[in-house]
Amino acid sequence: MSRGDYIASSGPGRLFRGQTAVDFYGKRRIGLIVAIVVIVVTLLSLFTRGLNLGLDFEGGDAWDVPASEDFTTDDAADVLEENGVSTTGARIQRRSGETTDVVTIQIEEVSRDVALDLTNGFAERAGVDPEEISFSFTSSTWGGEITDKAVRALVIFLIIVSIFISIRFEYRMAVAALAAMVHDVIVVVGVYSVLGFEVTPATVIAFLTILGYSLYDTIVVFDRVQENEGKYAGVRMPYEDIVNISMNQVLMRSINTSISSILPVISLLLIGSGLLGAVTLREFALALLIGMISGIYSSIFVATPLLAALKANVGRKARRERLTGDNLRAAVIGSGVTGRVAAAPTDVEGDNDDDRDGDDTSVTIVEPAGKLLTHPPRPRKKKRR
């Protein structure tokens, strides 16, 4: 029988075998410093540069004209002027994909007749059929309404999710999970502000996806923390240790899930928007990519250390230093099973209904855990039946 007794010598090997012993809690300051830097940069950028709000938030008319060699942004400006539309407030960009180039023209709201004239003007100048041109108009109040409603929905969502996490887990976990989520949103908003990307309704949807993903990822990690909390209930295990053990146990899962989540998004970004030239996909995929990476990072480096810090002053004081190195590794390996960590080899597992088929099982589980014990827990009461 192949057994997991020996410790792999290489880092990836240990990772693969779930034998890592990274002191995540000890590195919590890194997460804190990064988070502060990100927030400061974002706030600075928001105040100095602001966000590049798209047409849908400010109101106005926009065209996407399929551009050939002979239709340039200057041509577009000419058409605007010919129709008596000022080019000062207009935004004209050329966006290129592999197969098609698109010239995007955005102006302030004009009357519908002028808009029609402009559509035909662009079509004529670009030498395409007017049907080939995508046109959109948004009233100036509409973008605000979308945003207002989205924000209201978000606030209600956050309240309900906090209640849910508080009931399912505990309120400190709700605080930590929401903090990680806010962190992710700030990261994405910061990137958008610093790089001057345009914020469109698609971006808002990407933000919402990121919120959901960040919460999801954090909850998966917290679930393991809570499970380990129960597992060590009979042992005086400091919360930092529980956090560290849980993080190491879910590390491989986090990496696998991250790869599985990010691969499709990268594919969307590189193949969908890059090679196939679907320009609308680009901003969406970019926001998602940044947000997902941030979401994975924040569950490990923001949410969990914060949780440990919140729990540090709760309940019993730890009697000893945090576990590190091989001790931590032993704990990570030892508690990676269901059931409660037992005190001594003689004691069997908590819920041992169908666990009798391997006598060595309990020994393996108990052995590393046994090293952690400062004193044995109260003996189990005899069941009266």
Partner: protein, 484 residues
């Protein structure tokens, strides 16, 4: 136990494949959004509070207006407090756009003056006449005074100088009635008795009084609706009623009779096009409240198709990459993931077809990208499960023993995390507008499908696999699986 697992596994496969086959057989596809197949989309919002009934009325009016312009089965629906018009794949966008731009309600105002509201004007050429059906235009019958209803107070401040369609202007008093006096969709164009075209419209039984009140004022040339000129015989002509839409006088017919009996006929020197335009105005005049377009979007069919193709191709490539990675990592167990993702994909497709058919929510680009993101979350269910099994096996449990225990703890994790997504989807769906709503719908669908597949497919599949001899001696989790 084993039997139950088989029933669950086979039942799920049969149900899902059956649902898919049914959808394919009945050609029930998810409706593609505007951004994926090109077309026109307009969101109309009422300017003031509108009741549910008002919105339904507007929806029907917009729909019939579109049908008249040649758009078959236009998708017009009430969404929250807005009217959403989606015309994917529509050919003549300009025409459709015009039909949708039914911005205003029609006001009926007496014409006070043709020249004076403090601004100078040219002599207007307003010669449309109005008479009940069947009455001769040139023989107005004077009526006794007793039919004259109470006259509204004078309107010194409410008179407005309004432009007419032919470029001149008239001074019109305050609105005394709206287009709601006309029967919905009753206006039609007919050839007049004396050549030219006439527009006939029916009065609603509850609108007749308002119309007749105004008509009587004008016919009797009361101060609220004085005479504006002389007829061919030199006698002073009855007053005119201005039909106003969006602050533009569409027509200002002279009233040739004080009492109308259910029918109004407007004659004049119309061309057919002008007559049809006026009929259109009278039809849309039945709008209970004013609506204005908030968002208009046309997407060319080629751009939409490109986006769809790009999203599908990149989604499939991304999925293939994920599967390659998982097969490399989980070896034989990846079979379960591939099977599970296939079942998940079919379930999502069936659910999307059903929901978009039932609720008219089109699958937009945001929805597709949401599904692509959901691949990651779905795969996570397997990763959490298998990583847990790996831990258990490494600590000495047999595969057969580890699988059910791992599933129990995994299930707890998965439903907690997925429930947050579902809560988010429900709240976003019920409270937001526009594209966010479509996104929330598909987020909810994919998440629920994930839970469904996890419990009814993955669980029996893995548990049965763990009991079978298939895995014995094979490498999984980097460990050789022993016989139990």
């Amino acid at each position: 136990m084993k039997r139950r697992l088989w029933i669950s596994l086979i039942g799920t496969i049969i149900a899902v494949v059956g649902a898919l086959a049914f959808n394919l057989a009945t050609d029930n596809k998810p409706i593609l959004g505007l951004d994926l197949q090109g077309g026109l989309s307009v969101i109309l919002a009422p300017e003031e509070g509108a009741s549910e009934a008002d919105l339904l009325v507007i929806r029907d009016l917009v729909r019939s207006s579109l049908e008249r312009s040649g758009v078959a089965e236009p998708d017009v629906r009430v969404q929250g407090s807005n009217i959403v018009v989606d015309l994917p794949g529509v050919k003549d966008k300009e025409e459709a756009l015009r039909s949708v731009s039914v911005s205003g309600i029609v006001e009926l105002r007496p014409v006070v003056n043709l020249s004076d509201c403090s601004a100078p004007i040219t002599d207007p050429e307003i010669t449309d006449d109005v008479e009940p059906n069947g009455f001769r235009r040139s023989t107005p019958e004077p009526e006794s005074d007793d039919v004259v209803p109470p006259v509204p107070a004078l309107f010194a401040n409410d008179a407005e100088f309004l432009p007419t369609l032919d470029g001149s202007a008239v001074c019109a008093g305050p609105a005394q009635a709206s287009g709601e006096v006309f029967k919905r969709d009753s206006a039609s164009v007919a050839l007049g008795q004396f050549g030219g075209f006439s527009v006939n419209v029916e009065l609603r039984s509850d609108g007749e009084a308002a119309w007749n009140s105004l008509a009587a004022q004008c016919f009797n040339q009361l101060p609220t609706c004085p005479s504006t000129g002389t007829d061919v015989n030199g006698a002073s002509r009855p007053g005119q009623i201005a039909i106003v839409l969006d602050g533009v006088v569409q027509s200002a017919p002279v009233v040739n009779t004080p009492v109308f009996d259910g029918n109004v006929s407007i004659t004049g020197s119309f061309s057919q096009e002008e007559a049809e335009q006026l009929a259109d105005v009278l039809n849309r005049g039945a709008f209970p409240v004013q609506v204005t377009p908030q968002e208009t979007r046309t997407v060319s069919a080629s751009a939409g198709g490109d986006s769809l193709k790009a999203a599908i191709i990149s989604g499939l490539i991304g999925l293939a990459l994920v599967l390659v990675f998982l097969v490399f990592y989980y070896r034989q167990l990846a079979l379960v993931i591939i099977g599970g993702l296939a079942i998940w994909g079919m379930t999502v497709y069936s659910a999307a077809s059903f929901v978009s058919g039932a609720t008219n929510y089109a699958l937009s680009l945001a929805g597709i990208t949401g599904i692509i993101v959901a691949i990651g979350v779905t795969v996570d269910s397997y990763v959490v499960f298998f990583e847990r099994m790996k831990d258990e096996i490494r600590n000495g449990r047999t595969l057969r023993n580890a699988a059910p225990r791992s599933f129990n703890s995994t299930w707890r994790t998965i439903w907690s995390a997925d429930l947050v997504s579902v809560i988010g989807a429900v709240i976003l769906f019920s409270l937001s507008v526009g594209s966010v709503r479509g996104f929330a719908l598909y987020l909810g669908i994919t998440t629920i499908c994930d839970l469904f597949v996890c419990f009814f497919f993955t669980r029996p599949a893995v548990l049965l696999l763990a009991r079978s001899k298939f895995m014995v001696g094979k490498r999984a989790f980097g460990l050789e699986v022993a016989a139990s």
